[in-house]
């Protein structure tokens, strides 16, 4: 009990004393996971839409692949990316291992199937005849896609939240491909692991609180957008 109290007090001290290292770690977490989420969305949303709206041979297999990917263990991703980026590995010449870029790659691999799978599910809930109707009142192809996205906005934002939530909180892959190097690749999750293993529970709890706050803040923002009342048109007079 004393331990937790001490941890919370440390957390307050760290946050309000503007501890440079803690801020740097927090900022890097946000940057790495934010970038990874944006890339995962850019790749995952079009793929999800494509999977939902087209039929091709082998589609069932591809869907099963994506669904499996949604539950990919981060350590397996970490292992795979490590092997690829290892100095002697096939992509070793890029010199990316133990850099934030490697962490972004690993997190994209984790978030991308989540975003693609949830986007696919979101579009499959739409009536397939809706596309025909929208074209039938004069929508162009880009307009059609945009309208379908706005129609599926609630589950789509859920996909964004699930993607971001999945990567901001994972520790396995970033530890393996980033290496938890102080001042370079240390993020909130890896720092928490380290501080806990060293018995610095106060600092660990503080980092945990910051991580939770961060995750909550981002999700709160997205939820506000998701649940926002629609912009109403003025009542026709």
């Amino acid at each position: 009990m004393e331990l937790i109290l001490e941890g919370v007090l440390t957390a307050f001290r760290l946050v309000f004393s503007r501890d440079a290292e803690v801020w740097a770690i927090t900022w890097l977490s946000l940057k790495v996971s934010g970038t990874a989420t944006v890339i995962a969305l850019t790749l995952g949303i079009p793929l999800g839409i494509l999977m939902a709206m087209t039929r091709f041979p082998g589609r069932a297999f591809a869907v099963a692949l994506i669904n499996t990917g949604m539950g990919l263990p981060p350590v397996v991703v970490g292992l795979f990316i490590s092997v690829l980026l290892w100095r002697s590995g096939p992509l070793g010449f890029l010199n990316l291992i133990y850099t934030p870029a490697a962490m972004v790659i690993a997190q994209v691999a984790i978030a991308f199937p989540i975003v693609a799978g949830l986007t696919m599910a979101a579009f499959q809930t739409l009536n397939p005849k809706l596309s025909l109707q929208l074209l039938g009142i004069g929508a162009s192809r880009p307009q059609l896609l945009w309208l379908l996205c706005t129609e599926a906005r609630l589950p789509l934002l859920a996909a964004v939240m699930a993607g971001f939530g999945g990567v901001i909180s994972e520790v396995g892959s970033v530890l393996m491909v980033g290496g938890n190097i102080k001042g370079q690749t240390r993020v909130l999750t890896t720092a928490t692991v380290l501080e806990t293993s060293m018995g610095n529970f106060g600092t660990a709890i503080a980092l945990g609180v910051i991580l939770l706050t961060l995750a909550f803040g981002v999700n709160f923002l997205l939820t506000r957008i998701q649940q926002r009342e629609q912009i109403r048109w003025p009542r026709p007079s």
């Binding site: 039938g136 009142i137 162009s140 129609e151």
Partner: protein, 361 residues
């Protein structure tokens, strides 16, 4: 003949090697309401989607120009489709009704000006700010119609827009739409499997069965002079009696069946095998000993009532004339006057001109 608005050419849709839709040519004339009728699965919706350029056709000529990949969007923007399901977006009624205009980049003020009259005309102005999800089926379908009509389309495509509605809602909407289309003169193609809807809402009728257009013509032509037995049955001609032409002369012919003779109008050759078609409303029933009944009907056939079925405001009476079945509709008052009952002897009479004669091969 009015100006041709749209021509469909060389339509051939196949699943594997089985043709499911084969239409060499079909034209839509400016200002007309063309009903495409046929049983479910005949290919009506596919045909309509091709007209709307929502499915890749072989060739469509719209307003004198052939549709291509490049101009398809422009062409689609001069048309508007309404489907069986209202398919509204999760937004308010007025936003849904204005959607087509929004897609064309009109400003909010213009949209309001063009949508508002349609909401009023279709009786949904009071629902304008209501979320589309809260609407009843009829209200939603009215919103879908307002969305199409607000576009002031050159061609309106209706795909069974009333099928999902309950009968009173359906009738109300059908009559409202009829008034709208007659006053605006919007060229309309109306797909339905309900022949009664086509009677209310059509100038010309095309009959589509198993992917082929069996007959195109004016409404009265298709409903009284079907080209074959299938069409005859679909348009509600319930009496179909095979016979042989016996004597001919002066535009009249006598057709013999089961030892009876019926006078018909038309030029035929003795010995020709024909099918006598009669709409139920053309047949009048009278008591068997009705010497006093004066009728101008040329044909009088004695028979026996085989079956009586209540039929809405009428009774549907099947009369058996030595094996040939005649189907007549009788109003409730005449049903009581005639004291009709099964096995009762009656006389079925009809005019020579009421008989549509199909040549059998």
């Amino acid at each position: 003949m009015a100006e041709t608005l749209l021509i469909l050419d060389d339509i051939l849709v196949q699943y594997g090697n089985v043709p499911i839709l084969e239409v060499p040519s079909l034209a839509v004339y400016a200002g007309e309401i063309l009903a495409i009728i046929g049983p479910n699965g005949a290919g009506k919706s596919t045909l309509l989607r091709m007209m709307g350029l929502l499915e890749q056709p072989t060739r469509v000529i719209f307003q004198g120009q052939e549709a291509t990949r490049e101009n398809a969007l422009n062409f689609r923007r001069r048309m508007a489709s309404v489907f069986q399901e209202p398919l509204l977006l999760n937004a308010s009624v007025v936003e849904n009704a204005a959607l087509g205009l929004r897609l064309r980049g009109l400003d909010r003020r213009t949209m309001q000006q063009r949508v508002r009259p349609w909401l009023e005309r279709l009786g949904i102005a009071h629902l304008a700010t209501r979320p589309a999800r809260s609407l009843s089926g009829g209200e939603a379908q009215r919103t879908s119609l307002a969305r199409a009509l607000a576009l002031d389309p050159d061609l309106l495509l209706l795909d069974e827009p009333f099928s999902a509605l309950d009968p009173p809602t359906r009738e109300g909407l059908l009559l409202d739409l009829e008034t709208v289309l007659r006053t605006t003169g919007i060229t309309t193609v109306f797909v339905t499997h309900e022949r009664n809807e086509a009677v209310i809402l059509s100038d010309r009728v095309a009959v589509l069965m198993e992917g082929r257009i069996l007959q195109v013509g004016s409404q009265s032509q298709v409903f009284t002079q079907p080209v074959n037995e299938e069409v005859a049955q679909f348009v509600g001609i319930e009496t179909n009696i095979p016979g042989v032409v016996e004597t001919v002369g002066e535009g009249l012919a006598q057709v013999r069946f089961n030892g009876r003779t019926v006078d018909v109008v038309g030029d035929f050759h003795p010995g020709e095998r024909v099918l006598l078609c009669l709409r139920p409303e053309e047949i009048t029933l009278s008591p068997a000993r009705a010497d006093a009944v004066k009728t101008s009907a040329r044909n009088r056939l004695a028979g026996r009532v085989a079956k009586i079925t209540p039929w809405g405001p009428h009774y549907r009476i099947v009369v058996d004339c030595d094996g040939a079945r005649l189907v007549a509709l009788v109003t409730k008052p005449s049903f009581r006057d005639l004291e009709l009952a099964e096995e009762k002897e009656v006389v079925a009479s009809f005019k020579a001109t009421a008989v549509h004669v199909l040549r059998l091969r």
